[in-house]
Symmetry: C2
Subunit: 190 residues, 2 copies
DNA sequence: CACCTATTATACCAATCGGTATATAAGTAT
DNA sequence: ATACTTATATACCGATTGGTATAATAGGTG
């Protein structure tokens, strides 16, 4: 494995374990078996390293999300397909997923939050688009696309964290996805 | 205001803004207009200061939660009362609530998580107790009290973060509480 | 071979980190 | 008046922070 990838992976591990601020650059290069100038050669700063880590995971996630979230002429089905992919991606990269969640809830003036924000916004835009295209299906949708999108993202994240927490050995994406969309749609119509 | 309270409040502000690790002890005493030995006199370490901040808010929260969560012979009503108090407390202390959420999602090996964990556990125990006392109401409850408790806590936190995020100027506790419990109960029975 | 660019390490930087030894002032109890 | 406790500041500690100046070492290309 090349040095860049190695540093990236060791940093990811450490950030997930201890958090961005609690990990020193020296600690990262020690684990990677290299030295600081090498790290600063590939990533120009500690913050640049964080950005690269997020881009590595979240970039791929956004590509897939954009692909699967195309409107199918039916809201529950579109949500179901989107939800399945969301769950799948998170389960495949559990550690990174939990790390990004911790970043999302981190302090607003912290570098961690600054780094994750553009990806949060982009994710939100993709989900909002689903509800915009479903406007004809739901009466009184006016201006509530943002609200529904936040709600949907929130409930998916909540299910994920919940199932990771109780340590379900085998998570059935199809079943959870169905329950989740059902419960969400119930919330919308009530 | 005495020096101890002043340090406590300044530290709370800074931790909420930037996160525990990103704030230095010097920065805290500068804002409080005092010096480090004073801080170390009242709280024996930076970690002790964090513990005091959490205890200040979460201690009161747990007391109230324990009081209102007594079982009323009816699950939805008990949940509704508990939920109302949970929402009320969070809305009254919005900044501190959001700070504790950020701690809950912080890295497992970070001091922030170590400090919040006992309070998370205690909260969970209180909610579990509700579902244990409702065992006669729900068939097939065996061993799922923990699951329901996690689910309930999750959905309440999700609603709160969601409403704080969209910046609803006036949050109707009664209405949100009702919707929330309804949606949760629907999830249980389906 | 000579040249060039991409990598990597040694050794260092000022600044900040969490924390403390020591001194002092003010109040209080004997 | 003496002794003790509480509360605060000056000045310092070694260790670590993120980051870099410099130089050596590759590997490929003319």
């Amino acid at each position: 494995m090349d040095n860049r990838t190695n540093i990236l992976e060791c940093a990811t591990e450490l950030f997930c374990e201890k958090g961005y601020d609690a990990v020193g650059v020296q600690e990262i290069v020690d684990r990677a078996g290299t030295t600081k100038p090498t790290l600063y050669y590939y990533f120009k700063s500690k913050y640049g390293l964080l950005e690269s880590i997020i881009e590595e995971y979240y970039g791929r996630f956004l590509e897939r999300l954009e692909t699967v979230s195309v409107y199918q002429g039916d809201l529950p089905n579109t949500l179901y397909t989107t939800c399945r992919e969301y769950l799948k991606m998170a389960i495949e990269n559990k550690t990174m997923y939990l790390f990004t969640v911790s970043l999302i809830y981190s302090a607003r003036e912290n570098d961690s939050y600054r780094a994750i924000r553009p990806y949060m916004v982009k994710t939100h835009e993709i989900i909002v688009k689903i509800f915009e295209q479903a406007s004809n299906e739901l009466e009184n949708m006016n201006g509530r696309q943002q609200q529904f999108a936040s709600g949907f993202e929130g409930i998916v994240n909540f299910y994920l964290i919940y199932y990771f927490e109780i340590g379900e050995p085998r998570i059935d994406i199809d079943e959870i996805g169905k329950n989740l969309v059902d419960q969400f749609m119930y919330g919308i119509y009530s």
